[in-house]
Amino acid sequence: MNTELHEKRIPIIKIGNFLIVSIQVDMHDKLAIQLQSQILEEIEKTGAKGVLIDISVLEMVDSFIGRMLSGMASMASIMDAAVVIIGMQPAVAITLVELGLEMTGVDTALNMEKGMEMLERRIRGEYFELN
């Protein structure tokens, strides 16, 4: 059947210090968990300082995917990388709040450009603190 198609990995692209992940499919739970570990492995391998996760195509984020995204942010921060969620649709944001998910600690940006600026500021800020 078409299981092979379903099991396809979601591509992670590295640009400079950042990883860019664009979720283009309606994820089932296993795929979401797989993506989570895939991103963490990639952070370890590349030493990326930031991850941009584009969810602008996602028409629905339920409690599982919401938890996966916020868990992702805390795990990445332990690995010294920041996560910014890009392009959440208004209906998705409303539903998440009504569902009761607070998504604490998750940074969001309206688009990729703003998300990148956010991460760059963050990295500069960290260096500033160190000096």
């Binding site: 299981t3 739970d29 296993k30 629905m60 409690s63 599982f64 209906a91 409303i94 009504e98 998910l101």
Partner: protein, 141 residues
């Protein structure tokens, strides 16, 4: 088998078996499609799709899968999309507890049932230990 009262005037739009995680993804898409067909707004489409997604996950994780029926009909003089999820799993011991925020039997974070309930206009549930659970949600157009 557990049952909830139905109305013969409801029209069945689809009946789907949930056996794998892929079935959950495709039923989510059917729900959105039918919500759109009923000309619900984008936010209501998202609410009912998300609510059903939570129910399907419960069904898959705790009920060993089950059957979802999608119907449309008039309920209390309102056009409604009606989604009924039936499983023959372990059942829920304490429904009030399962419906309270933050309660979880282990795997989740406890947003599933109470969250789904908040997202819909009507929520009905019946469960019997070792027989199964039936949950029906409705969203008005």
């Amino acid at each position: 088998m557990l049952q909830l009262t139905s109305d013969n005037n409801w029209e069945e739009l689809g009946k789907h078996v949930i056996e794998t995680e892929h079935d959950i993804v495709s039923v989510r898409q059917y729900i959105r499609y039918h919500a759109k067909e009923l000309s619900m707004g984008i936010i209501d489409q998202t609410r009912i799709t998300t609510a059903v997604s939570e129910l399907l996950r419960n069904m898959y994780n705790y009920g060993g899968g089950g059957v979802v029926t999608i119907e449309k009909g008039v309920v209390d003089e309102k056009n409604a999309l009606i989604v009924t999820c039936v499983d023959q799993g372990q059942g829920i011991e304490n429904i009030d507890l399962a419906l309270s925020d933050g309660y979880t039997s282990g795997k989740g974070m406890g947003y599933g049932l109470p969250g789904a309930k908040r997202l819909v206009d009507r929520f009905e549930i019946k469960s019997e230990i070792n027989k199964g659970t039936i949950v029906r949600v409705m969203k008005w157009k």
